[in-house]
Symmetry: C2
Subunit: 430 residues, 2 copies
Amino acid sequence: MRSKKEKLVSHLPDVAGNGLVDRRALLGRGMVFAGAAAAGVGSSLTGAAAEPLAVDPWSMEPGAPIPPYGVPAKYESKVVRTLTNPKSEPRTSQARTPHHLLDGTITPSGLHYEPSHSGVPDIDPEQHRLLIHGLVRQPLVFSLEDLSRYPRVSRIAFIECAGNSGALYTAQAQPLNVQAIHGLLSCSDWTGVKLSALLDEAGIDPRAKWVLAEGADASGMSRSFPLAKALDDAMVCLYQNGEQVRPSNGYPLRLLLPGFEGNMNVKWLRRLKLVDAPIMTKDETSKYTILLKEDKAWQFVFPIEVKSIITRPSPGLTLKGPGFYEISGLAWSGNGRIRQVEVSADGGQSFAPAVLQEPVLPKALTRFRAAWQWSGGPAVLQSRATDETGMVQPSRAQFVAERGLRGNFHYNAIASWRIDQAGEATNVFA
Amino acid sequence: MRSKKEKLVSHLPDVAGNGLVDRRALLGRGMVFAGAAAAGVGSSLTGAAAEPLAVDPWSMEPGAPIPPYGVPAKYESKVVRTLTNPKSEPRTSQARTPHHLLDGTITPSGLHYEPSHSGVPDIDPEQHRLLIHGLVRQPLVFSLEDLSRYPRVSRIAFIECAGNSGALYTAQAQPLNVQAIHGLLSCSDWTGVKLSALLDEAGIDPRAKWVLAEGADASGMSRSFPLAKALDDAMVCLYQNGEQVRPSNGYPLRLLLPGFEGNMNVKWLRRLKLVDAPIMTKDETSKYTILLKEDKAWQFVFPIEVKSIITRPSPGLTLKGPGFYEISGLAWSGNGRIRQVEVSADGGQSFAPAVLQEPVLPKALTRFRAAWQWSGGPAVLQSRATDETGMVQPSRAQFVAERGLRGNFHYNAIASWRIDQAGEATNVFA
């Protein structure tokens, strides 16, 4: 057998410093990658493998029944959300998505991130109602059966908590991984009714300029959002990834405001009130304001700014010796499509464009991939996203210069993983 | 309160017979739909609803903890696969997707359809190997860790069993629903390694023209497919809808041959052998041949032909009185993108184009929607898909004239649901 090190050879030119190689490597042509062992001595072109595969025990006996509702393999028990409040004590809870263990762009519904302010309510769908009232011609109450009669639309959309990556609002980098830092982010195929259709039926009073959305959880989570958003792409969602919205994601009804910060996508939706100005609810005044340097702040800045993270390599996923690695991650913007992601292996001194996985959809996670030949020496991996409006993810220095470190929300600076000579990745500020 | 019947009024013109109305109805503008009840007398434009919503018990107490891995709401316990062999007796098993209860285009992994020939093997991912051998320069064996080093791609793709809709190969229509007739069909976001990259590393002997794929289940499920497909879009998949492939869908490794009949997407993949001609395995000679009328048959016809089904309304989803309904369904083709879906409410006498949910992806399920104003009288609903190669789904009469009714596989004729005056839908041949 060839040793692994011998095989870790690139045949394609570098496109940026410290081993970033031509994207043709991602097609596999002209590259020798990584892992396979030769199947044995004496093998020949006639196809006789000298060392046939062992016949494993699971190939020699009938397998298990197919369950009515499938679950992950028992060997994947680590692929779960981390919980900040597993006993649901009377405070907020967060469940974080393990992006370092996932791939693709759809987040499995069972792993969708979730903050909640008072636990997951057990809502009887037969009893649940949605009220639309306030500055309307005719207040209306909808049962779920009523709503199921309306035309539906689907869209793949990310939701990101305003506080995602808030752990990077510190002077010193903490030893945290993707899930701990960036896990308040997920992406689903959402299906529901366009809010504009419901408002059209209720009849909008010309004085209406904002909408209050309220959840049926005990905290009565509520936020105000502009009527223009309601008439643009807002949806009242009944389905997530094909099936009914999961309990922790708002069953039986969730508001979707594509691209807006997570908490505004009100779960367990029970009430929408058309009003002439923001209501200044507890949830929009006590939190979710973007503090800037010194005495200033931004209030009611709703769209998530352009952002990206590298999910692999990342802390906990140790590199197994020098050679080829795919750098893979996620990029997104609340303002539309991702236009470009660039990747650096030398801490931002040089960047090369990554490949974007098609289809690139507006306000959805976009998977990017780049080809990297790790020399075995130290490296700092970064990704920098640009959206279709031309907004570019800022460096940490730029971000801190503008906003300082007092805040908790909307952190979107370029993030860095340092790779040491043992192949371990660490969160660093670079 | 207004009665429901009063509200079921369309303001848009018909576009085909028996109540199909303009697609603008799907935007909600100018339509009064269905369900909402006025919120009470005395309500006014100042927003004071005279009849406030009841405060439900789940809004008055803290909710449940967020689970590490979420599951559907307990109220949705009917949204499960139906099983033909729940005790895993020594014969084939089928689990069917409940498309009448789903929406969007992604199938939840727990509800992905599954046939198996000998149950679901319990494969230890540490022990599992993939062998590539036969007409190659260098046979190779891959562990999962080896494979995880290779570049990855993602794509949303449907898989449909060759025998899906086989229940329509009868002279009389059976009283079955979407799940029972068309449930061997699903769609996921698949991520893995391009098979071409692995073959490139093994080195393809010029004599190689076909590939044998073999599963690690006890039945040793195996099929031959053209090398051209391996070098085109074939993938060796590690991830399904973001997470590791589920056990009943091939954990830890599944072959994906986009657009090819389901069984060829070999689950629990353990071996790929490059050969100069089809192997004629038991699985490709005893089954999966398309019988035509009289003495002829098609062998090795792999791509799924253009097809569509209406999932709503459909049997079991009783219409609740005359008025607006969205007709919704799924269309797909193993040859590429769906170009058009047309819908009929009068048994095929007239058709109107449906709206296709973007993004329309090649070899993926495409959700279509049409607007229907049900008069309360009898109707026969049909959908007819056309793919980007120009192939049009045949009528049942055309299909039967060509293929007869001897077969089991690749049934793709236009399907019909009859709606009676009670709003019940029934499988009929029309």
